[in-house]
Amino acid sequence: MDAAAQIIFGGLFQGSLYAVMAVGLALIWTTIGVFNFSHGVLMMLGAYVAWQLTALAIPFSVVVPLTMILMAGVGWLLQASVVRPLIGRPNIVLVVVITTLAAASLIENGTLEVWGPRSKQIPALVDGNAMLLGVGVSLHQITIIFITPFILLALWLFLNRTRTGLALRAVAQNEDSALLVGLNVKMLYGLAFAISAALAALAGIFLGGYRFMSPVMGADPLLKALIVVVFGGLSSINGPIFAAYLIGFFEAVCSYYFGLYWTPALLFAVLIITLMVRPEGIFSGKSRGLA
């Protein structure tokens, strides 16, 4: 009972975190067709911005939305500086890997310069602990498990039920056709990055609320999000959402039975097997192709 509760709880929690990270990555992939390697750093920066705002004595209920808005702006700027100028080049996928990695390095070192190497922590979303099914859990983690589905649902509704969401899904599929139905392609690219960065910032707040923050804290979640999107496929955002929870549970099971030491290796085994057996991802119909 104890083990099951621990695995269920761990799986839900990790799954929530990975889902929030992975949908941001998937959103950029499905709208612009590039992979954003600065996603993890955006998450880290979100946590630091939230820490800074908290330090300015702004109430935490204001800090969370304000951080997301500020980070949406950062996402927009990032897109305008290292992605938009390259659009239309034949090797854009590869070039954007390099430019976003470069941006990640700059932001990471910039954060180290500005805020220093000392570990920090931001307040929990909800303070306190509870006993659930014989397992001690923090209310912060419980809150994350409960609000994540609503955030994902909101994003899904936005993409599938609104005109702008429809335009976002269409724009990457055929740029000529997108222009010819009068879509504002530049605005949509900026919007995709802004939403993605805001979600990354939220993940940063989630993570910074129960772990110590450091300028390199984004690397591991980015890696996990990468495993999630490869595993789930990138044809829509639904694949990564389901995949995030599956990977979350897989990680929870692995860390319970095999220990933390073996878990990353097992996760990468999943990644490699997926790429060998079903490179388009398990929830994906057909591969969008990397071209």
Binding site: N174, S177, L179, L180, V181, G182
Partner: protein, 237 residues
């Protein structure tokens, strides 16, 4: 007032290569216009320049007496000049219904979204049966119907069709030609590029033969044209 598109001394191309050489034509004085001519002589380039996908190097394009040369495709769509491009793949992962909704994206078309959708279903009843099917799963003819339907959702003042029957089986081609004639009868002026001159003649009495990036011949209403003349226009005397 009839809708007119006046192109004067237009030069455009890709990279350093000019495809169009100071081409001039007037569209709309005699209703629909048909463009024909050998492949690789600038018909598609002309249409892509008109709709803003290519920036013209020189010259003017006036749509209803408003200069649109050099405007963004989005601004040109908002003027009501809608272009259905050649061999359109459209949006492979959207459903037919979603494509049509997207066609109503231009601000000036939003108020008429419902009426336009009903009109499109009347013209292409087949689309209603496959409403939730993804575009990538459709046949070439059906995809062309969705492309034209999507354009109609944008409340076009003038509709440009680039080889709508390209690669279609004869029977499907006939159906599509009938639908295009139907659209023309609803009062939307058409600019159609086609290799099938018979179809163009059914649609329009005003034709241009485009050759080497220029207008080689203009055929105005009243001037008749028989098969051997077309052959000689294409292949020389």
């Amino acid at each position: 007032m009839s809708t007119t598109l006046e192109i004067r001394d237009l030069t455009a191309g890709y990279g350093r290569i000019d495809i169009l050489h100071r081409i001039s034509l007037t569209i709309g004085n005699f209703g629909n216009v048909g463009l024909f001519g050998p492949n690789g002589h600038g018909k598609t380039t002309l249409l892509r320049t008109i709709s803003g996908l290519i920036n013209p190097r020189e010259g003017s394009i006036r749509f209803n007496d408003i200069e649109i040369a050099g405007l963004s495709p989005r601004a040109i769509v908002e003027h009501g000049l809608i272009h259905v491009s050649q061999g359109n793949r459209l949006f492979p992962d959207l459903t037919i219904g979603e494509c049509l909704t997207l066609g109503a994206y231009p601000k000036r078309a939003r108020a008429d979204e419902e009426a336009n959708r009903d009109a499109v279903i009347k013209i292409f009843p087949k689309l209603a049966e496959r409403w939730r099917q993804k575009v990538r799963t459709l046949s070439g003819g059906e995809r062309q119907m969705v492309s034209i339907g999507t354009a109609l959702m944008s409340s076009p003042r003038m509709l440009i069709l680039d080889e709508p029957t390209l690669g279609l089986a004869p029977k499907i081609k006939e159906e599509l030609c009938a639908s295009v004639l139907g659209i023309s009868e609803r009062g939307v002026p058409l600019v159609v590029v086609e290799q099938d001159v018979e179809f163009l003649l059914e649609l329009s009495k005003h034709l241009y033969l485009i050759n080497h990036g220029e207008v080689a011949t203009e055929i105005q209403p009243g001037q008749s044209l028989d098969h051997s003349e077309i052959m000689s226009l294409y292949f020389g005397q």
